[in-house]
């Protein structure tokens, strides 16, 4: 079950744009942590606990690399931990690296969610109305690629079985050129098929199976309000953290608290949504 993705692509795009946008432009670890938490919860609902953990290893590695690279290049900061080749390695630089790593990891995780939710047809839906021809080309390409790969595999395995060339590279190249030839043949038929069904007539429209409903309007409004509440603190610099020479948080103000809360709610919406629908569903079932 994945109810969040049933929103209209426009709503989804708006959501991801706000979350990722805010994450990129803040450098406050609290924001980043709540964003990270939101993305992790969402990933669990998308791909399950076990699979998510398998994925996390890669992200953790990125986090570590960024964290430990920064102090190597940046020697600012007051608290010296130790020296490498007469260069200071400071605690502040290490923390800065960790926050940077956190930000990159969080943004990557949101992109991962985006990838899982936003498949090609949702992408097409976004710009299909404005660029119907481009949308069609993308759609053709997406249909073409899997067929291409399948043909390649079958030709290559046949050639392998026939003992064509011991060298793998040569076999691959030969099979590849055979697939190209074959695809050209197919393309002629495809273009005939397109002509038969009126491709090239004037005023082509674009059809997408997604519908923009009142629900979408409601959620876009919610996203918008949360965004409005989050932004002022960021623009006023009240959510700032300075790292050098010492790590120092600004004193929290009303705007900072409002902003942080709003962002946390925003980051939690998808997983909250999944959980809510899950509970509602269970409840319905139990009623039946």
């Amino acid at each position: 079950m994945n109810t969040f993705r049933n929103f209209h692509p426009l709503t989804l795009a708006g959501y991801f744009l706000s979350v990722i946008g805010i994450s990129i432009f803040t450098f406050n670890p609290i924001y980043l942590l709540s964003g990270l938490f939101g993305s992790l919860l969402f990933l669990i609902t998308l791909m399950g606990f076990r699979k998510m953990f398998a994925h996390l290893r890669f992200y953790f590695l990125i986090f570590l690399i960024v964290t430990f690279t920064n102090p190597v290049f940046s020697h600012n900061g007051a608290t010296v931990l130790f020296f490498i080749n007469d260069n200071r390695v400071t605690l502040e630089a290490l923390i800065y690296g960790a926050v940077l790593g956190l930000m990159i990891t969080e943004v990557l995780l949101w992109f991962k969610c985006f990838n899982l939710v936003f498949d090609s047809e949702r992408l097409l839906c976004l710009f299909g109305k404005t660029f119907p021809k481009l949308a069609l080309v993308v759609s053709i390409a997406l249909g073409f690629v899997p067929q291409f790969i399948r043909t390649f595999k079958s030709i290559n395995s046949t050639q392998k079985a026939l003992g064509f060339s011991k060298r793998r590279v040569q076999r691959y190249l030969t099979s590849f050129s055979a697939v190209i030839t074959r695809s050209m043949e197919g393309a002629i038929i495809t273009s005939d098929s397109m002509k038969c069904r009126g491709y090239g007539l004037k005023n082509r429209t674009y059809f997408s199976r997604f519908r923009f409903t009142a629900y979408d309007v409601l959620y876009i409004l919610i996203f918008f309000v949360l965004l409005i509440c989050t932004l002022p603190a960021l623009f006023l610099g009240q959510s700032g953290v300075s790292f050098y020479p010492y790590v120092k948080f600004e004193m929290p103000t009303f705007f900072t608290v409002l902003s942080l809360l709003s962002f946390t709610v925003l980051a939690m919406i998808p997983s909250f949504f999944e959980v809510k629908e899950g509970i509602r569903w269970k409840y319905l079932i139990s009623k039946i």
Binding site: G143, A161, E185, I189, S193, R204
Partner: protein, 528 residues
Amino acid sequence: MEIFNLENLSFTYNGSDRNALSGINLTVNSGDFLLLIGESGCGKTTLLKMLKRELTPFGQKSGKIFYKGKKIEDIESRESTSQIGFIMQDPDAQIVTDKVYSELSFGLENLGYESRIIRSKVSEFATYFGLLKSFEQNTFTLSGGQKQLLNLASVMSMNPEVIILDEPTSQLDPISALEFIGTLKRLNDDFGTTVIIAEHHLQEIFPIANTVAYIEDGKLSDIGSPREIGTKLKGKKIERTLPSSVRIFNALGATSKCPITVKEGREFLFDILSEDDHISYIEPKISKKIIECKNIWFRYEKRSADILKGCNLSVNKGEVYALLGENGCGKSTLLKIINASLKPYRGKVIRPKRVVCLPQNPKDIFVKDTVADDLKTIDNSYKELSGLLKIDHLLGLHPYDLSGGELQRAAICKILLTDPEILLLDEPTKGLDNFAKSNLGELLKTLTDSGKTVIIVTHDLEFAALYANRCGLLFDGIITSENFTNPFFSYNSFYTTAVSRMTKGIVKNAVTVEDIIELKRTEYEKNS
């Protein structure tokens, strides 16, 4: 109402001195189901393409084509697009987009309908064609049969007056083909949609058509009801593509009403066969085993279901073994296990070293620009073999320019160059016309006579009945019935040849048309 009216239509392709079509006069009325028959290259496809303006080939045309009383050149593009639907052979290449629903809406988008209308039309047609389950799927996940139904549905969604189909079932297995033809009949019955179709395999479609047109060398040689045409084609080469009942009727020289369905065939045979008639069957000798699969278990992934569940199979030297079964029952998987390209997780395969497989699409065999170049990649001394397989005249051509039958012979030639002991053929009759099929059958006989062993995986029961020595039915992961061809088909009640179904309970051991003809020939010779 007249849909098409062809007046003295002739056509010559540019650069050719032969008329592809000459002097064709034909009228197609609304609601007709017109079947075009004729040998490969007789001009069927050209004729069909002339009827769809967007596909009209380049060349010299004379005569006139009228669509609903208007010259076909004068009808508006929008009208021509939406009212005349065209479906081609290749199920894959005809599909334009990546999703089932976007394929269904493709034509409607071109016609400029707004989303609301497209949504209602698409949902209507997806429901009618049973595409609901696959509605959001990627088109490449569909089977060949589903793809062709999708092509039909996406043409139908534009609400055409007439649909033109050029051998739509040639790339499908017989069961999907039957479903496709059934859908066509339903469209014709339910909506009065005019159908014009060219086909090679006629057993099922012949009785459905209300008019059959026989085209010979670009001329409309005969046209009439299936019954009339059935008897008129007696003695012609095309006759062997006709339904079994018609062939028996013609061969026995009967003069009553020509039977065109299995039911009518049964009635006909009931009258002419007596209880004394019987076909003797002698069990052939068995040579030594060459392949043995013992207790084979196989699955593709750790968590997936078993495809083969303790399958046993043994094949004897020098025989043609036909492995039958429905789609997805594991026939191709078993073939790959024999071929050693897959390994069973339990069980044992005893097989000789040199086993090669001809893939479903023989094009996979060829990677060079000419057939000769391709053969050279295996062995330079291919001349003897190419002569034997009668492909000498094709050696200089590009493999993709060959016809289905030619391509297959060339592919078999390339495979034979590796000097295999065992030949595995995956769906070898797919896309072949009857002429090419019988050539293939003869070729298989020559191969087994020279000591090779052949295993074919096929859906084509008629082909198996004619050319296999033994048949096995794979079901639910094991071979559930296996026997010599004749008893195999005469014991089966449903999964068997048309002749066997016709003669069930009337005469034993009759499986092919030749069986019946042989039975009655002596009697007829006596009488005459």
